[in-house]
Amino acid sequence: MNIVVLVKQVPDTWSERKLSDADHTLDRASADAVLDEINERAVEEALLAKEAQGGEVTVVCMGPERANEAIRKALSMGADSAVHVSDEALHGSDAVQTARTLAAAIGTLESVDLVIAGNESTDGRAGAVPAMVAELLGWPQLTYARKLDTDGQSVSIERESDAGVATVEANLPALVSVTEKINEPRYPSFKGIMAAKKKPVSTLSVADVGLSADEVGLGSAPTQVVSSAPAPPKEAGVKVTDEGEGGVQIVEFLSGQKLV
């Protein structure tokens, strides 16, 4: 079966992240860039499915040239090839435009059975792109998977939400988005690292995937960020002095915050 994994390069969660003053887009130069951890899990899940069912894993990435490092990481883990949509015109694209671009990029590939994505990226956190891509492809969407099974004909997931766990099934082709709980991603092996650079990566422009430059990017984005401000520094929390009633006070505080 042929599996596509949508991957994104994001600023390392541990580094300081900033928005640029000019247009409120991510200041990519200010932070270390890594393959989004949730995408490592998506790649892992694709590799597991490939190991069980055979086939190929292709990673699809939209991002600046530098994102090839994230692509390389996915290839080192064992993905077979990659499509990198890289174009100046994409700068500032919002979730809708990103989904359009990714769906179009998937459209350049033949006979895709399954698309796997992370449920949300650790930088933008819109959590909307996987569903939009499925919609644009006209495929069933199975989101928030904490477990995935496929026999090559259909796919079944355990969908976890605040309300509970549902088992959801669909025939292929379909799109699945996975959560942090899905698996522990493998480390790339040294052989995998050395093999990665020999694997095919096709770099496509916006035109190559069949879109025009004025459909994407900041200028034509359906949503616009009009202002942004850094989160205020954390304020000191509430101190409870234990005078015999400490436990009760903490429970009262937590239930006041609807945490218990």
Binding site: K73, S81, F190, I193, A196, K197, S202
Partner: protein, 395 residues
């Protein structure tokens, strides 16, 4: 589902002063493994004297069990230079674990370099995956630095050798499945020595109690005792009489690895110090404001960088099979292990009383790095090798 492909630029050649993309990726992966799978447990393993065989197997999946072993036999096919990056990166998590893995690699390499294809096929795949661990058996109770005087005897009996003797200070002993053993098959001195590969479950092999040590507690050090152990002649690496050469060839690379382990341990100690001086206050200021400490940190970074450059130079020489590789490896081992120990010791000092507590991880690094100045040839023996090379060159 092929899409049109575009050619990607070739990786530029390795330079001794900067790493290429592959090398950075390899180093990063080893560092990640060390940070996530080793470092969080290092102090506990030391305290409990626990040898984490399960974590070694996990490392095996990355290809760490046969870093510079032929890919046809399950190895990763990388260079000595790459291996120096890997062992330094692993040692930032725990020098003891990294050093054991480096010995394991040395054992696998001796089989790869001196074994025939049948022998390589027999032992290397399971060593590379770290399903089986390897031990290097040269030292004896009465023969350390003067290893050429070893007395463990292998007497030919038909298709077998009958081995009797005691090997001292053997890393991994008892846990390992494969023992590469230097034995006397002929005359006294280095020329009478041969190398046998002995399976750990052979009849007649037994192990002494675990030694109580200053450091290196996360791996066992024990005697290996051979009493009438029958080893097939087919287990001999190369010809009779070349065993000492094999043992010394193994150590050239082994010394690089041990040096790299010192760099990694010391680098971790330096990194901890850089954090600490920004947190800790005394006399109303962060201690990092004291120029004395700033200068100390500057010296530590300089000493490490100098040792790293020499080590990389020696690794390149070994990869190129240069005629001065042995001497350079001895220089690198001497300098990296001396500088590494000194830097770790300074880092402990910077941490004050907390440096002396197990919890902070500094005293463990100091204890671990101390033995690197002793084993795989003491640093006096390194000077012997270096000066011998120098004097021969002059004449």
């Amino acid at each position: 589902m092929a899409a049109p492909t575009t050619a990607r630029p070739e990786t530029p050649p390795a330079s001794p002063f900067s790493l290429n993309e592959d090398q950075r990726a390899i180093q990063e992966t080893a560092r990640e493994f060390a940070t996530e799978r080793i470092a969080p447990h290092a102090v506990q393993w030391d305290q409990d004297k626990h040898f984490p065989v399960d974590v070694l197997r996990e490392a095996g999946e990355l290809g760490i069990g046969g870093v510079y072993i032929d890919e046809r036999f399950g190895g990763s096919g990388l260079s000595r230079f790459d291996s120096a990056l890997i062992f330094e990166a692993l040692a930032t998590g725990c020098p003891t674990i990294s050093a054991y893995i480096s010995i394991h690699n040395m054992v696998a390499w001796m089989i790869d370099a001196y074994g025939d294809d049948e022998q390589r096929q027999r032992w290397l795949p399971s060593l590379c995956s770290m399903e089986r661990l390897g031990s290097y058996c040269l030292t004896e109770p009465e023969a350390g630095s003067d290893a050429g005087a070893l007395q463990t005897r292998a007497v030919r009996d038909g298709d077998h050798y009958v081995v009797n003797g005691v090997k001292q200070f053997i890393s991994g002993a008892g846990s390992s499945g494969v023992y590469v053993v230097m034995v006397r098959t002929g005359q006294e001195g280095p020329k009478g020595i041969s190398t046998l590969v002995v399976d750990g479950d052979s009849e007649g092999i037994s192990f002494g109690p675990e030694e109580h040590k200053m450091g290196w507690n996360a791996q066992p050090t024990r005697q290996v005792v051979f009493s009438d152990v029958r080893v097939p002649v087919a287990n001999r690496l190369g010809e009779e009489g070349i065993g000492f050469r094999i043992a010394m060839a193994g150590l050239d690379g082994g010394r690089l690895s041990i040096g790299a382990c010192s760099l990694g341990g010391a680098q971790a100690a330096l990194d901890k110090s850089l954090d600490y001086v920004r947190e800790r206050s005394a006399f109303g200021v962060k201690i990092g404001e004291f120029q004395t400490l700033q200068f100390k940190l500057a010296d530590m970074a300089t000493e490490l960088e100098a040792a790293r450059m020499l080590l990389w130079r020696a690794a390149s020489a070994l990869d190129a099979k240069a005629s001065d590789a042995t001497r350079l490896c001895a220089m690198a081992k001497r300098m990296a292990t001396d500088n590494g120990f000194a830097v770790a010791n300074e880092a402990l000092q910077i941490h004050g009383g907390y440096g002396y507590l197990a919890e902070y991880g500094l005293e463990k690094i100091v204890r671990d790095l101390r033995v690197h100045q002793i084993l795989e040839g003491t640093n006096e023996i390194m000077r012997l090798i270096i000066s011998r090379g120098l004097l021969e060159q002059q004449s």
